[in-house]
């Protein structure tokens, strides 16, 4: 139940929308089924900041000049080969699906990031589009939980692309080691401002809390409005998070050292471990970022290093989720803002390339063990099955059991669907939701 009851304005807007046949929530049978399962579903986004090369990871061109020195290995699925630097991921292939024919048009880091994270090109009609994390955590999350539904383990935010846009701050991510200048916070993946400042004892926090409660109750008796109630609900939730330390999710030291080693003692590796702990405790969407993929020079060494961090984190995460019976209810998304040029440049690097690149979906309701689309021997263009951003988003939504036609109302009163109309679910990978009854 939202802490902000519908205002008269919003109610009127929604009624009008419904009266004119513009459905806010999709078809009823689907909704019923989805509601059953929606509570337990989660999504983990592995965000490869900088634009990861597809030619050296999931769409190798061994034997072609564009392939460079990259070598491929067999995976658990016959006929699918990926980079030799991703052996752990190769073992997971039965639960992963590679899309090799993704084609978008943004080659600028910030614009492309906003495109990939919101599903829309930036600046369109001045709408502040919400990020995937905000959209999905709104559909899947539990607002009353002591844990935020949307967590972002990321060193920085490009253009606020992972922000909530017009959905408002109730759907903003809790950023872990985001803007903090405190090196301690970064190393231990702690939440910005979750812990009381140093020097404030537990007893002091309790006394502060008591004073706070008194002042809040006092104010509520004199000015009990919807704003007052919303403030209290939000404040209380934050206090609960502080008191339970977010249900201990961030206590990575509770895990055996062997497990922490398996994930890899990097921020990304430990971030994947944190993602598993958050999903176990009911978080709906966790983003874990690995930066450094903008390999304009010395591509091959850089990619080998990055894969050395990526592989153990990602594959251990999937092993752990599977072991705990969580893989079927957790969608995994691997992507960056664009791919890289198949043609190698003068500094042994690859440059930005959005015309034909790769992303990977897995877990959840995604039928793994497949590779969709191809880019031809040179990799310079989509040869088969072009997949646009709307198709990708539609497939992703279907994979997590969310109806892509679900709409949110923008502040201007406009209904904005999760996915642009015209986005088609890739049938081989996920079942599209039941057709809307009109």
């Amino acid at each position: 139940m939202s802490p902000n009851p519908l205002t008269r304005r919003e109610f009127a807007r929604r009624s009008l929308a419904t009266a004119l046949g513009v459905s806010c929530y999709g078809s009823l049978p689907f909704l019923a089924a989805a509601a059953e399962q929606a509570k337990t579903k989660s999504c983990i986004l592995l965000w490869m900041a900088g634009g990861p090369t597809q030619t050296d990871t999931f769409d190798l061109k061994v034997g072609h000049a564009n392939g460079g020195p990259s070598k491929s290995i067999a995976t658990a699925v016959e006929g699918i080969q990926i980079s030799e630097h991703l052996p752990g991921v190769a073992r997971q292939m039965k639960d992963l699906a590679i899309i090799r024919s993704l084609t978008t048009q943004e080659g600028d880091h910030e614009r492309a990031t906003r495109l990939m994270l919101t599903g829309h090109r930036p600046g369109q009609e001045g709408i502040n589009y919400p990020s995937l994390g905000s959209l999905l955590s709104k559909e899947l999350g539990d607002e009353s939980s002591d844990l935020p539904s949307y967590v972002c383990v990321s060193p920085f935010s490009v253009g606020n692309a992972d922000g909530p846009g017009f959905l408002g701050p109730n759907y903003a991510p809790l950023v872990v080691s985001g803007a903090s200048n405190d090196p301690e916070a970064r190393a231990n993946l702690s939440v910005e401002n979750l812990s009381p400042p140093p020097g404030v004892s537990r007893e002091s926090m309790q006394r502060r809390s008591a004073i706070s409660q008194f002042l809040q109750n006092d104010f509520a008796t004199r000015a009990n409005s919807s704003s007052t109630r919303a403030h209290k609900a939000n404040f209380d939730r934050a206090m609960r998070m502080v008191a339970t330390n977010a249900k201990g999710a961030f206590r990575l030291d509770e895990e055996p050292a062997a497990i922490r080693d398996k994930y890899g003692r990097s921020r990304f590796g430990q971030g994947c471990l944190l993602a598993r702990r958050l999903v176990e405790r009911g978080a709906a969407f966790v983003e874990v970022a690995l930066e450094g993929w903008d390999t304009h020079s010395d591509n091959f060494n850089a990619v080998q290093r990055l894969c050395g961090t990526l592989d153990p984190g990602w594959s251990t995460l999937m092993d752990d989720l599977r072991e705990r019976g969580l893989l079927q209810s957790t969608l995994i998304v691997w992507m960056g803002e664009f791919g890289r040029t198949p043609k190698i440049n003068g500094t042994t690097g690859r440059d930005h390339f959005p015309l034909a690149w790769s992303a990977v979906l897995g877990g959840g309701g995604i039928k793994g063990g497949q590779a969709i689309g191809s880019t031809g021997p040179a990799g310079t263009e989509v040869a088969d099955r072009p997949v646009k951003i709307a198709d990708f988003y539609a497939t992703l939504c279907a994979g997590i059991g969310v109806n892509p036609e679900t709409e949110n109302i923008s502040p201007e009163g406009r209904p904005i669907p999760l996915v642009d109309r015209g986005g088609k679910v890739i049938q081989e990978l996920a079942t599209p939701p039941a057709r809307k009854q009109s």
Binding site: N4, T7, R8, R9, L20, E110, P122, G123, E125, G126, N128, P148, S157, V158, G159, N160, G163, P164, F166, G168, P169, N170, L174, A179, V191, E192, N193, L194, S195, P196, P197, G199, S204, R208, I211, S212, F214, L215, D218, F219, R222, A223, N224, S225, S226, S227, T228, A230, H231, K232, N234, F235, A238, M239, M241, V242, P411, E412, G413, R414
Partner: protein, 528 residues
């Protein structure tokens, strides 16, 4: 004694006359003073409420008025000494005098009128270019120019005209940084760059901002909820065909949408095709039409926006959908708009009139008392904007302030806080939208941590270590610093008990804990 009293009242009358006289130019015809406007508002609403059998709320006390006026006009709570001074005056006219001072007084050191103008500039900027995208944040550069218009009390129709017809030769180059707020200032033409630099964006924005009408949906299809069609939208966009790539130029008054074979020529909203006199650019012609006295949407929208800023909600249900309001709903608004036009579009007069009315000085209407949201003229509990929160924190904590001449105040701490709080900003003051990150920021963030740390905090040290204040007065000072009022008996009882439970150094801690409680209480971020 009698002579002294009559001299005093004469002096008061003269002062009042000179203050309201300062609002009209020497050769303008004698027109309504702001006090008369205030009386007109009260009489008008008294009649309306009698008809609807609405019971008006009770009057607010002085402390509530003080905080309300300071926050609404200057965007900050008053200082402890300003609060003490105001609450100590016994003149019956102190409220009206305060409004006049906040609006007109440019004398150092407070420079109230300048702070008011700067805050109004922020409010208008947020209204004109809402949202929190990196592009929207660049709109901060418009604030110095806007503030100058308000300081000079440029008539509103002229401000609108300047904005609509502003020209630029080249876009303002800047790196749109991810997190920081840009520094400096840009002229009115920057408006076009900040909204996206395209004719479609200009048509949408200008119609919404100045006419209170949303035609944006009609860009691609005929609007489902209103009468606007694609030809209406593109007819307006045609005026702005010279806006391209961040340059605000002028070109011929017709436009062909991308992927379309149809060309639209400039048509005023409502269907009249534009005819251009020699030498007038399309945008100049649009400005003439827009600010014409007969254009009822223009003045009404202006009044609606000012009303919404001061009271918390507009006179009609939605200020951006004036075309959807019924004639009944618009009755009072339209009457007030006529007065506004007659005043020569004098914003300062309008603001003064509203703030001096009895209506402005009534308690907030809480949801339980009324059926549904507060009605027009009734005040909801308002949420402070990010700038109000920062400015109030700055005031309450006596933070060192960095000022850059002519531009937005540059202060890393300010920007960080405003960035985070802006994620929760809303254009409807009666909504509260903050989330966990905002709550955590105010609870455990560096600013609060320093403020409640005895070694770091000027305010706290000043209070706690003062030899002149006893415990009760110390508590009162903390209250005045944050809530602009003294504590009530039940608050004193509870908190003094808390303080006396500790001794020595720990007692200083107790004050720090109370200060923390005050800063994190709803009373600090909400406005009654």
């Amino acid at each position: 004694m009698f002579r002294n009293a009559s001299c005093l009242s004469l002096a008061i009358i003269l002062v009042q006359v000179s203050i309201s006289g300062a609002q009209s130019s020497p050769d303008a015809p004698l027109r309504m003073s702001s006090e008369s406007l205030a009386r007109w508002i009260d009489e008008r609403f008294a009649a309306a409420w009698q008809e609807s059998k609405t019971l008006p709320a009770t009057d607010i006390d002085d402390a509530t008025f003080l905080r309300r006026a300071y926050l609404d006009l200057t965007g900050s709570i008053p200082s402890v000494s300003e609060a003490r001074d105001f609450l100590a005056i016994s003149s019956g006219h102190r409220r009206a005098l305060l409004i006049d001072r906040l609006l007109n007084d440019r004398r150092r050191p407070e420079k109230h009128a300048d702070r008011t103008a700067a805050y109004l500039a922020t409010v208008w900027r947020r209204m004109m270019i809402p949202g929190n995208t990196p592009e929207a944040r660049t709109a901060v550069l418009l604030e110095p120019w806007l503030a100058q218009q308000f300081v000079d009390n440029v008539p509103y129709d002229e401000v609108a005209r300047k904005l609509v017809t502003a020209r630029s030769e080249a876009p303002v180059m800047m790196n749109i940084p991810n997190r920081a707020v840009p520094m400096g200032s840009a002229g009115p033409a920057f408006f076009y760059q900040a909204i996206g630099g395209k004719p479609e964006a200009a048509a949408s924005s200008v119609s919404r901002i100045f006419l209170g009408v949303r035609i944006g949906c009609a860009e691609c299809h005929d609007h489902p909820f209103a009468a606007w069609k694609q030809k209406d939208f593109w007819g307006m966009a045609a005026f702005f065909s010279g806006i391209r790539n961040g340059v605000a130029g002028d070109s011929e008054a017709s436009i062909r949408p991308e992927n379309s074979t149809v060309s639209y020529s400039a048509t005023y909203l409502g269907g009249t095709p534009a005819k251009f006199e020699k030498g007038k650019t399309p945008r100049e012609a649009l400005a003439d039409w827009m600010v014409d006295d007969s254009n009822s949407l223009f003045a009404a929208t202006a009044v609606n926006r000012v009303w919404k800023h001061l009271i918390g909600r507009g006179l009609t249900d939605s200020v951006d959908d004036l075309d959807k309001a019924s004639a009944e709903e618009r009755r009072i608004l339209d009457e007030l708009a006529v007065l506004f036009v007659k005043s020569g579009y004098d914003l300062r007069w309008l603001i003064a009139g509203i703030c001096k009315s009895q209506l402005y000085q009534r308690e907030c209407v809480l949801v339980e008392q009324a059926a549904g949201d507060p009605g027009p003229g009734q005040r909801p509990v308002k949420t402070l904007s990010p700038e109000q929160i920062f400015n109030s924190l700055e005031q309450a904590l006596s933070l060192p302030i960095a000022r850059a001449d002519g531009g937005a105040r540059f202060n890393g701490l300010r920007d960080q806080l405003i960035m985070r709080l802006s994620e929760a900003a809303t254009n409807n003051p009666d909504e509260f939208r903050a989330g966990i990150p905002q709550a955590l920021l105010l609870m455990n963030g560096k600013l609060t941590a320093d403020a409640t740390n005895l070694d770091q905090s000027r305010t706290l040290r000043g209070v706690v270590e003062s030899p002149f204040l006893d415990t009760t007065l110390k508590l009162e000072t903390l209250y005045l610093a944050t809530f602009s009022r003294p504590p009530r008996p039940d608050e004193k009882e509870f908190l003094l008990e808390h303080i006396h439970k500790q001794t020595g150094e720990m007692q200083k801690q107790a004050f720090a804990e109370i200060f923390w409680g005050l800063l994190n209480s709803p009373e600090f971020v909400l406005q009654k």
